[in-house]
Symmetry: C2
Amino acid sequence: MEKFAIGIDIGGTNSKFGLVTAAGHVVGQGSLPTQHYPDFGRYLEELSTAIHQLIEKAAPGAPIEGVGIGAPNANHFKGTIENAGNLPWKGIVPFVEKLSPYFPGLPMLITNDAKAAAIGEMVYGSARGMKDFIVITLGTGLGSGFVTDGRLVLGHQSFAGELGHTIVNPTGRYCSCGRRGCLETYASATGICRTVFKLLADHPEPSEFRGIAFNDLTSEKITQAALAGDSLAIEAYERTGEILGKSLANAVAVTDPEAIFLFGGLAKAGKYIFEPTRRHLDANLHPNYKNRVKLLPSGIDGMNAAILGASALAWRE
Amino acid sequence: MEKFAIGIDIGGTNSKFGLVTAAGHVVGQGSLPTQHYPDFGRYLEELSTAIHQLIEKAAPGAPIEGVGIGAPNANHFKGTIENAGNLPWKGIVPFVEKLSPYFPGLPMLITNDAKAAAIGEMVYGSARGMKDFIVITLGTGLGSGFVTDGRLVLGHQSFAGELGHTIVNPTGRYCSCGRRGCLETYASATGICRTVFKLLADHPEPSEFRGIAFNDLTSEKITQAALAGDSLAIEAYERTGEILGKSLANAVAVTDPEAIFLFGGLAKAGKYIFEPTRRHLDANLHPNYKNRVKLLPSGIDGMNAAILGASALAWRE
């Protein structure tokens, strides 16, 4: 009988879960609105009930390999979620300890979203067979997962891979972490919206963006405008790619990867983000790495990417 | 009978070698002037003869664990030295393949100087028991060795750890790699000499450095001047520490180390380099890492550091 892993992706809006085969086929899935559960105990009950119902429906009696969880601010070593600003539970939440009793006997691992994406790329995606690569997730922020010699870099406290919080401009944009000029203030879905507003401030040309409030702007709208030839949108992608490409060139000098994968919302802009990023990456690489590092779209990007990434933990670790 | 490892450090001026116990005691050593041997075959003969004579003298008949070699531009995977500008042999030199026949049956590994220093710190030095740390070598250039989860990060081509060639200022100093603003153009023994000359250009104050040619300036002289209260020397260290500390804060966000070790000539300046580096490191760390990363002097720095680092490869790998 085919084995499955359970993947759970905990986001600020929704908690998605699914049953996944070793080949990366999602045979069933569901979701809960995270914000509806300020009571953590009730959340765990509803989540585990929904998952057990899914198992009964999609694969009754099937053997389960384990449970993998992706969450913001997850501590891989401690099994906790720590001070996640966009989740309803405050402080340090002992997630694995509290969820484990609902899945007796199953191995359970939690890690942050970007590390889950990196493991997902290695297990199901375009990094299969690669031992040294980086996954960059371009969502609200910029996350990253570094894999060296086939192993995810976790670090001393499991806080490795915060490339989004490397400082690229000490006098630059204010970051939610309290510092200035972090990469993710420029290279992320939010970062490119900030860049559009900077361009609107600096330039007098008309633009469709002059009729849109900051809270209504999305990276998808910027991509649509770029497709329609809006020069401001194209310039915003150019600047985003320049800062991202230069930062990736520095990251390459640290871990010497075979490939870098771009994952998440902003990566869906295709050539608008890949072309300038690749150009500035290549232009800034040390001769040792010149023309040797691939910049690729994620092979698991799509509707189920987050569930796949989380479930991959169960197969891999 | 006690076992030994052979350590060989190949430098542009001298090739040093020694016999080292598992505890890091150097029981015998010697050296050859590298530049006297443009003929690589003759170099190998003299080097292996000298090492065999050393074994006969210092530990006749003792069991040897293996041979570890540290060299500039060494390719760990291929056993080669590739296009090392300061060595007399040009192109790609198959070092391990050619030296192995002189030591039949012994495992032999080569890696670059900074990676050897990192392994040395883990085997004999102050990183014993640590699994996640970074060693920064501050010599003519800036080298680095990253260890994560107890393993040296090598990368896809074995070119990981080139923190010295991350770009800290795109319009900054010209680097021998052909680009501009690499960290090592500021934070290295050569970098601080360049900073002294920049300060001499920018400021009118008298300084003992106004009587010294660039080729005669050394980081030791700058340290001596700082000790004597020379404000320009102290300012040069302050600027070096600022750039190094900020770069280390970014490196911490990538691999989340427990400690960073400073090794090599410039690290011998003690508080003059450690104090500003630590201050700017702490000031620029993301909250996740604040007050959690140690900045320490190497525990194997000294006369035999390079031999120890090279020999550690034989014990560790």
